[in-house]
Symmetry: C3
Subunit: 353 residues, 3 copies
């Protein structure tokens, strides 16, 4: 199903093998040794393919699927057509992810852009003092500065730029046109195309005579297993560092200002903006286009809804929404109150619509 121009499939599996790999219970299964050849969507699956249901919005697609097997949660299993084998799992999305990774292990960590992994291209510009680890790929047009260090098996793709002195750990993927300066990067980090790491933070002493630039003397520290989406920007600290905690996943076009600290395993959706010196605890999640002001703390495990704007500290474990952000229940209440008032006013005027 995945276009072979872009992805390489790695074998077929029996249903039993898949069930064991993801610790799922088999139901409606007539032949535990049936061969599954690929993963795909409910809509397009055929009888030798496996798909999944997570979001209940797609139950109508499930009801019409021709898939040979479906990964599904216990509560939704009754919606599956008879004749479809089920792998029942309390977390079908995760289980399906693991199955996808079995079929397409290369898609878990990209290894090249131009099609030639494992080579140092002659058209790359590598400073003689840079240290290049074993098994490193450097594609055409990539530039690596003086005294930079690239750890084993990392991939520096076409036209990426690694500035002088930067340290890149092992098994990283640095996408096309990503630039990394003034930074120390851990292992198994993915920076997608156009990511900007280490630019000057936005710091000026303002005055009616014009604004004086504050030298930005810190770094960016990116811990292991971080992934950062295309064209996101992570500025370096003014004094002290900007820090991205282990396992944190950042989507596209996100702005992380100087001296921000993100905890471990945060989820930062597209177009979020986090202002200077703000700290997020572990497992914070911020919805699309949400934001925080500077110098505040978002407690561990908190969630800021899409478009929310945190202006003050948020206690750990909270769910906030709105701008300025407030506890979710309060925000929703306010939305309802305003809607009700507008309707009442309409009714009074006898203008219903």
């Amino acid at each position: 199903m995945a276009d072979p121009r872009f992805f390489t499939k790695s074998g077929s599996y029996t249903l039993r093998a898949l069930a064991e790999q993801v610790d799922a219970e088999m139901q409606n299964v007539s032949d535990v040794d049936m061969i599954i050849n690929d993963v795909t969507t409910l809509d397009s699956a055929g009888e030798d393919q496996i798909s999944f249901l997570d979001n209940p919005k797609y139950i109508p697609a499930l009801e019409k699927t021709n898939a040979g097997a479906v990964v599904i949660a216990p509560r939704n299993a009754s919606h599956a057509p008879t004749g479809v084998a089920l792998l029942v799992s309390p977390d079908p999305y995760r289980a399906f992810a693991k199955i996808c990774a079995l079929f397409y292990p290369g898609a878990m960590m990209p290894k090249h852009v131009l099609g030639t992994p494992g080579m140092i291209d002659a058209m790359a510009a590598i400073h003689p003092t840079a240290e290049i680890g074993e098994g490193v790929t450097v594609e055409a047009g990539a530039a690596i500065g003086a005294n930079a260090v690239i750890g084993a098996n990392s991939v520096i793709t076409a036209n990426a730029v690694i500035g002088a002195g930067v340290v890149i750990g092992s098994d990283n993927y640095i996408g096309p046109h990503a630039s990394v300066t003034h930074a120390l990067v851990g292992d198994r980090v993915i920076l997608h195309a156009g990511v900007r790491v280490g630019n000057d933070g936005y710091g000026f002493a303002m005055s009616p005579q014009g604004h004086l630039k504050i030298p930005q003397l810190g770094r960016v520290i990116i811990h292991n297993d971080v992934e950062i989406g295309a064209n996101s920007t992570i500025d370096r600290g003014a004094i002290g560092d900007t820090i991205i905690g282990e396992g944190t996943k950042i989507d596209n076009l996100v702005q992380i200002a100087h001296n921000v600290t993100l905890g471990c395993h945060c989820i930062i959706v597209a177009q979020v903006g986090i202002s200077g010196s703000t700290k997020l605890g572990n497992f914070v999640s911020m919805g699309g286009q949400s934001a925080t002001t500077g110098h505040i703390t978002i407690g561990a495990g908190s969630q800021i809804a899409a478009r929310g704007a945190a202006m003050r500290d948020v206690p750990p474990g909270s769910t906030y929404g709105g701008a300025p952000a407030k506890p979710m229940r309060q925000w929703l209440k306010e939305l309802v109150i305003v809607e009700r008032l507008a309707k009442k006013d309409d009714d009074k005027k006898g203008k219903k619509d």
Copy 2:
């Protein structure tokens, strides 16, 4: 008027010739053969130049213009100074666009960045297995991967990256530092500088033990006549594709998540964010910084106002605003109600301002 360092003017035209080309009616014209030498603004135009009025905000500029001729709608014609020839058209903006294209045909589809169209630069990195069509330009620093296909007369500008296996149609313009991977691109497509096509969608199976990456096995399909603005990001599908319909125009810094489908001729203004698996019908328009949540449908012909945030399906032909987005009339009503309440409260306290 246009700076000759950047634009090449192509001839002069009689007023009559212009009127015929754009199907406009001439009014206030003493000499239909008067020569028009250039296009420009109302403010700066001289007597051998043509300008236009579309937005009525600029009627004061019209009243003072020294332009030889002005393209204008019937309803605004009476505001023009006597002595200014008029090309009266029901759609003066479109008519003026056509006139601009007559004077500067090269500006309709850029042909180079560095000044050397029609050449394959020796400093480009083209994989030996890539297929390069006739008349293709590849500028310095561009990289084209294994088995990629570039259609006739397309322009791959300086430092752009076309990944392995990508198919680019004919007559395309790929701007500097644009990167295209895992994608099939139609004809006459414009990708401006820094556009990111085909990066991994943002998909993780989250858990308290950390987030498991979902392999992103789909593609990006871009149909004919699409234009995408600088630094916008179009992620590839998870399973299945992300699709941009024919003629759709996307502005700068827009985020299109995995598995989104945009219909034909959509208008997506700067900094919009469209979440995963959402579908827009044909001719949908989304104002600046607006957004949608995932897995919803915005019906054909609908408009989401700037900063609107659609959280549920929007019926075809609707105009929505606000966050969460609701029918425009209802949103405006709510704004008025709140404003009125605040004023009333102020009045009660005797504090007027």
Copy 3:
């Protein structure tokens, strides 16, 4: 304190020398000739280092600091521990910025990315007709088009692209992957990584038959001492120019549409969007994620709060917030009124939380 891999410290200074340089008054000083070796944060400072206090949020850190000296405002001086020498200044942030610049003069204007300032790299692609001034640095992978002009001592870093005909003044820094086309740029301008200058503005004559591209025939004019953050986009004018006034500082991921005029010394924080033909006076400041509609004027000295959305002209010297933006006091009042109504409704139902 600053990582020597990325920054070069320039000497030590006596406290007296620093006080004189920044015009501060010394207090609590036992030895005016004490040697200060570096700048750092209150948290991490040792006795030969200087730090500062500006935001009162950090008074607790001040109270525990081991810094040898602190730059501080008169009103906060009493919070400093005894034994810490004080440099008292009415604007401690500005004074500290000057001290940072004394220790790290190279951080005021970056001079390279790859570590080899002052060289024209053999792997740069410079068109033979381009004029390269004295002392210019061009790093590997940079491309400079036909008839472009690069002023003295400017730095074109790795993989940056300067289009045909572009004029870059002297002492500029063009970051990695920045692209500049159709533009005239002044002196001492900083464009950070991935900045996009001069792409086509977003202009289409829309119709049910599809949207007709309006040729974009203007330029971008960037005046002296402008700084533009990573991945921001500045489109060129349609007819006429997009103009960025002297000393204006733009943060990351900002969108400036065609024909916008920014006055001098404006402050444009991350992810702001300014729509076409809007004009900002001098010293306007726009908070993060704020926006304006097109064809309006934001008067000199006005402030739009973070996330504000100006839909109409804003008078000079105003402070506006909200979406649509309104005078700050009115917006805050409306927020309070809605909050109060929701609370009252809750109380009525006896459901307090």
